[in-house]
Structures are given as C-alpha cells and as structure tokens.
Amino acid sequence: MNVLPLRPWPLGNDSCLFVSDTGAFFAGDEAFLDRQIESSLTPPDHAFLARQGHAYHAEGDVAHTAHAHGVAKRFARAGTLDYLILVPTLRCNLSCTYCQVSRAPIDKAGFDWSEETLSAVLALVDRLETPSIKIEFQGGEPTLRPDLLRAVIERAQRFPDRQFVVCTNLATLSAEIIDIFDRPDVFISTSLDGDSKTHARQRTGSAAEAQRFAENLDRLLRRYGPDKIAALPTVDPQSPPEPAELIEAFASRGLRGIYLRPINYQGFARKRHAHSREQDVAWRAYYERFVGALIERNWADQTQVLEETYLSHCLKRIFQPGHDRHVDLRNPNAAGVDYVVIDHDGRAYPTDEARMLARSGVIDLSIGDVATGWDTPARQLLNDNATNALDPECQRCAFQPYCGRDVVDDLARYGTTDLKRTETAFCRRHMHLFDFAFRLIYDPNEAVQYSLRRWLKVPGDKVCLGAVLQ
C-alpha cells in the first residue's frame, strides 16, 4: 500500500486537516499526524486512506490513476476567448470616493470609443470562435453610450449562448437604456453599499441621489425580478455597516448573492483610502461576523438562501475542481487568453485591475490593443508568472489545490511579483478564507451545515461534508 502525499493544516482542538494534491481532504487527530510522520500507519489508517483515494496498490490502478487525474483537474485550462470586458466610455456621472478607475468627468471629450475603436471591437466579436460569449460593459458609466452597447449586442447575436452584463451605477434610467435591459440576453450589475445613508456617503454624495438610485434599482427589480440583477457592495473597512443592515438591504430586494468586497486598492482609493492596501484582522473578524449573520438568517428563515458569493466560490473550489472561470481565483491564471479587457481608448488589458493600474499611472500593464491584438511579449511575461505550482511557499500549503495566483494584484500593491508569497495580501486573504471555510466545514452546528449544503448546491441534509479519520 502506497500512501499519497498529504499536507497538514491545524484546525485547532487537537484536530488537523490533511489535504492531498487533488484537493481531497479529511480531518485527523495529532496522533495520526505523528503516525504519518513516523511511517507507522495502522491497518485501519490504511483502509481509511484507501477508501478515500489517498492510497494505492500499484501504479496505474484505479486509485493511482484517479489521483493523477485529480491533480491534473486542479490546473485551469484557459480555453478560447469568450469573455470580453468592454469599456465604451470612461466618463461617469458619479464620483465615488474610492473610484477604481479614475473616471473622467461627464462632459469631457476623448474618453469614449472612437469610430475606429468601435469597428475594431466589432471585428473582434466577429473573429471569436466560440458558441458561447459573455460580454461585460464596464466604465465609466456604460449607459452613457447606449448606442455603443447596442452596436456590440447586435453584432454578437450570432452566438447561440450569449450574456451581456451592463455594470451600471443606476444613477439615471432612460427609456433607451430600459429598452436594452428588456432584452432577455442582457443582465444588470450594480453597486449597493448598504442602506441609503451608507450608499450616499460612499457613492452618490447626496441623499437625493442615493434615493434616486434606490428607486431605479427597485423599479428594475419589479420589472425583471431578482435573477437578472446582481448587486455588489463595497465596504469601507474603517467603518463597515452592521452585517444585519447590509444583509437586509439585499434580502429585502430578493437579492440573494452578496459579494462582500473591501475597497479595492486602486484608482482614487490609493490616496483617499490608503489603508485599503491590506486588510487586517479587523476586516477578517468583520467578514466572519457577516458570514455568521448570513448563516443565522438562512437558518431562521429557510424560504430564502443568502450567500457571500466569494465564500461560496471558495467552498465549491474545495469540493469540486473545475470552477475556473472566476478569473480572480484560478491556477494558472492565464492572462489575455480566455478573457480580455478593452479600454475606452482601445488598449487591451489582462484584467480590469490592470487597466486601473495603468489609468492611475502606477504601471502600464496593457498587453496590446484591440486593432493589432495582444499576442505580445508583455502578455507572455505575465503568463510566465501566472502559476502557483512552482512557488515554494505554495507547494507546502494545504490550500494550494484550491487557490490561485494574481500577478496584477501583487504589482498593484507592491510594485513587484518577487515576494515571499505569504507576505502578499492575496495569500493572506485566501489563507484566511480557506481556513475559515474549513472551520465551517467541520463546525457541527446544524445551522452552519445547512447553509454550507445550500451554498454547495447539495439538495439534502444528511450528507457529511467533512470526512474524519476513523
């Protein structure tokens, strides 16, 4: 019997998590850890490990091959380009304190796609070799240019499976925009920072404008129901809203997914929210308190399941390999292959954050432009560093199979990628998230297990989520 490699992680209370390179895991006690280190595993240990797929008899047998397959499955394979983030204009009718892209004033010329850029974008759409397409309109405020949205949407009708997401602040809602939103292939993404007061403080500036936003959001929810609309809060970790209040702002509207994001260290935020470079213990405590509040609410009112979408995503990555389309968390994280950002001036960026960095004058991470393409040395350089597979810190980390790599994030915060991984915000954030996820997985509280099962899309309530060595 050959036991496959296992990486330990302390869970507390004499309990230890063991994770294989495939991401399969179980909990054992310290005595098992000792037996593993001393190579003195017992027959029951062996039987358990074999049952769980952590041991094999001979090379090429089903356990050995399944392990190899499982390891391979943990590597994201970026497919053909089928996800475009388009910035038809950088102009915006709001000026949020933490604006990530240093938006341009509403009446300023030269911040919209030119005729040439539009033609090049349409030509790009024509060239795509994919049956399914996702196009996200970012800004600036993309609804300032409904004509450009329509041009792209109409051009992309040839894809049988298509999704257009308009990321809008909903400050205004013209009939022309409603016409676009009415299309079944169009979805709406907006920002909802909490109650009206918080939203006004962080975004709109005035209470009247915050009120208008809320009316617009509710009007759309009445018109389309919650499935067409996603809202994301941005949280100022210096003064976060009470979890219950933020949750209520979403739940009362039937919005079930809340992606709890602290202010991104980008754009204006670099100066106005300098503390946002790293999230600290206080943020993590807030985050856990927030998830705790979700769990309690889900348990108390089982008619609706609310989730923190990034935690759900991390949980899915723990149990189910293949969730590799969330481009903030995958490994390797290929740049400029299956998705790309086209800015208002036609420049191509590997991610939206990379665009923001260039806009803020930190570092130019553009990899090309929409007219001439982005198969460039710049893209290659990013991709040479896009994996965590060979990082010595990651290789020792129990969470590596679930984790990712974000070169742009490192550059944004530290101006270099050449750091000990554990000293980066990306690493610390995800170490915390995965540790938290496993503490939840092994939490015997029935309310916790209930929410986890729903977040993982398990229909029933009998299945045990965390295997324990017996």
């Binding site: 399969a24 049952r51 769980q52 797929g53 090429g60 047998d61 089903v62 356990a63 050995h64 091959t65 399944a66 397959h69 499982g70 499955k73 149990f319 189910q320 390999p321 293949g322 099962r453 993982l456 899309k457 398990v458 229909p459 029933g460 009998k462 299945v463 989520l465």
Partner: protein, 352 residues
C-alpha cells in the same frame, strides 16, 4: 410502441442498407397506399408494409429479402437510435433486459453503411450483447465512420471487460472524443457486483479497464441499475465514484426495466424508490457535493421527492415509452421519463 421491424419484399437477393425518400439520398418512393409503400433505389424495387411512407421519410433501413423484413436502423429525427451489434455476452446479469444468445451474425458492414446515411449530427447508440467482444470490428466501425462523418457521435454500451493496455493509445485518437462509453458498475463491493453480473472477477477486471479509459481521456457514462440487492449500498458507491471515478462525464442511476430476466424476477429485484428514497437521496447528495454529474434514469418524476426531481431525466427511448392515462393533466410530462411499455400497471402516478 413504434414498430422497428417491418415486413418487406425486394427485387434484390442480398441484404442492403438504404435511406428512404428524403428527397436527396437513397431510395425514392414510387407508390404508396396506406401502410404499404414501394420504393426504388440502387438495389432495385422493394416494398415495405406496416408504417406509412411519410412516417419513414429519412429512415435508414436494412432490408433482408430472404427473411422478408426491413429493420429501421435509424428513425429520422429520433434521438433514440441504436445498433445491436451482437447478442453474445460474457456476463449474465440477473436483470438483463436483452438476454444474450450464443450465436453471432456479423453485420458491421451494414451498420457502417447505415451510419454513413444517418441524420446530420446524430448520436448512434451501439448496444448488445457485449459490443467489445468484437472490439476490433467495433473500433474500425467507429474510426471509419468518424473519418467521413465528423458530425456524428457514438454512445457504446459496454461491460468494460475487454479494454487492454494496448487500447489506450488507440482510444486517444481525436475521433474517439466523439464516443461515450456507457459502463455499468453496480457496487463498490466486488462480490456484490460479480453476483449481479454473474461473472466472478468481473469487478476486478472492470477496475482494470476504467483507469485505462481514464488515461485514454475517454468519455465514460457510469451506469448503475437499482436493485433490491445494491440499493442500500448506493451511498457507498457514490463515495467511491466521487473519490476514484470523478473523471466520468455522468453517473446514471437507473430504475429497473421489466423485461428480459427482470420480468420473472421482478418481485425479487425491483427496489421501490417511492418507499425508500433515502439511499438514492444520499447518493445524489454526495454526487452533488463532489461535482459528479449524477442523474436518475427511468424514474417517473412524480415518484421522486421535490428537491431531487431535477435529477430525473426523460431517459426512456421514445419507441418503448408509455404514460398511463392519469398522466394526461401532468404539467411535467415533457420532462418525464414516463414508463417502459412493459412496466407493470398500477404505477400510482400523481400528476404534477
């Protein structure tokens, strides 16, 4: 039931394959009178009785003049077309729906001709008996057809007893991306699986084949027929699939078909999921947790508890599917498997 075998007469003396009056290829309709039609094709005149010509338009048929029959190999527009390539089998499953025979008539050449005439983008089912008893012929059929008809794909039902190390490289050919192998696994416990398939060592042999298919990058649909003997162990099997066979495209948990050997052993073998859904629920939960694409075949939707209903697929082939009269008002009929034509009456459906 939709008739698949019709009486026929033909000028030709040897069997031939053709496609019926689709306006382009094959034989064209010369005369029709109700259920009696005369066609003219490369093999001369022939007549078919029993189905109106308009209901056979585009069908690919194999006419055997000596036996006086025409087999509808592919019914145009149907998604349930399969070729029975042999009736021999090296297993003897307790519930076999198509009990094996000792003799074998090689009809691969006809089947190849038929595949070349199939509807565009058709999925060709290959069944038996055990098709891989004639592995070389089978692989050749698939390779040759897919070299010409890149739009087609195959679904092959096999007991997985005959994949060797030498097959791995061959199955890695790009054309085999268009082939899905439907492989039965009835239990993670060797002795129980062997008892069910009536062959000692079958489980061990199957677990030699599966990693080969894994390494070949083959598409595999795992199949488990639900029986009184293996129902309780379904959660254990689900754990095995999740930990060792996660490479499968799908895991189909199938309700028993009341035909073949199962007919006489019905009371002994049939597991009533309406009374004891718990082990099935648990297996589906485990599969969902680990991202295994599990589904229920041959389960009428109303017999499946609400949270699990989306797993129940309309799996029963159109030509042998039946809905009791109580199903008329049901709103989920389009999504439902219904029942096998030969399922015992008194299902006790509750329209949704």
């Amino acid at each position: 039931m939709i008739p698949l075998r019709l009486s026929a007469r033909a000028e030709a003396s040897t069997p031939f394959v053709t496609r019926l009056n689709d306006g382009k290829r094959g034989a064209s309709l010369v005369a029709a009178d109700g259920l009696h039609s005369v066609f003219a094709g490369d093999a001369g005149l022939f007549e078919i009785n029993g189905v109106a010509a308009k209901d056979m338009a585009g069908d690919v048929i194999l006419v055997d003049p000596r036996r006086g029959i025409a087999e509808r190999l592919f019914r145009s527009g149907s998604v349930h077309n399969s070729l029975l390539v042999t009736e021999r089998c090296d297993q003897l499953c307790v519930m076999c729906s198509q009990p094996p025979k000792k003799t074998h008539h090689d009809r691969f050449d006809h089947f190849e001709a038929a595949c070349l005439l199939a509807d565009e983008n058709a999925v060709v089912g290959i069944t038996g008996g055990e098709p891989t008893l004639y592995k070389e012929r089978l692989f050749q059929l698939i390779e040759r057809v897919l070299a010409v008809r890149t739009d087609l794909s195959f679904h092959v039902l096999t007991n997985g007893q005959h994949f060797d190390e030498t097959d791995v490289e061959r199955l890695r050919q790009p054309c085999f991306r268009a082939v899905q192998w439907g492989v039965p696994l009835y239990s993670s416990e060797a002795s129980l699986h062997d008892d069910i398939v009536g062959k000692p060592g079958a489980h061990r042999r199957l677990l030699e084949s599966l990693p080969r298919l894994m390494r070949a990058g083959a598409h595999v649909e795992l199949r488990t027929v639900l029986l009184t003997t293996n129902a309780a162990q379904l959660p254990t099997l689900a754990r095995f699939v999740s930990s060792h066979l996660r490479f499968v495209d799908a895991w189909s948990i199938m309700q028993l078909e009341n035909i073949g050997f199962a007919r006489n052993r019905w009371a002994e073998l049939y597991y009533d999921h309406r009374v004891g859904f718990q082990p099935i629920a648990e297996a589906l939960d485990i599969s969902a947790l680990y991202g295994v694409n599990a589904r229920l075949f041959n389960f009428a939707r109303c017999g499946v508890p609400g949270p699990y209903r989306s797993f129940a697929k309309p799996s029963i082939s159109d030509w042998k599917r039946r809905f009791p009269s109580e199903c008329v008002p049901c709103r989920e009929r389009q999504l439902c498997a219904g029942f096998f034509e030969w399922h015992p009456n008194g299902e006790g459906v509750t329209p949704l």
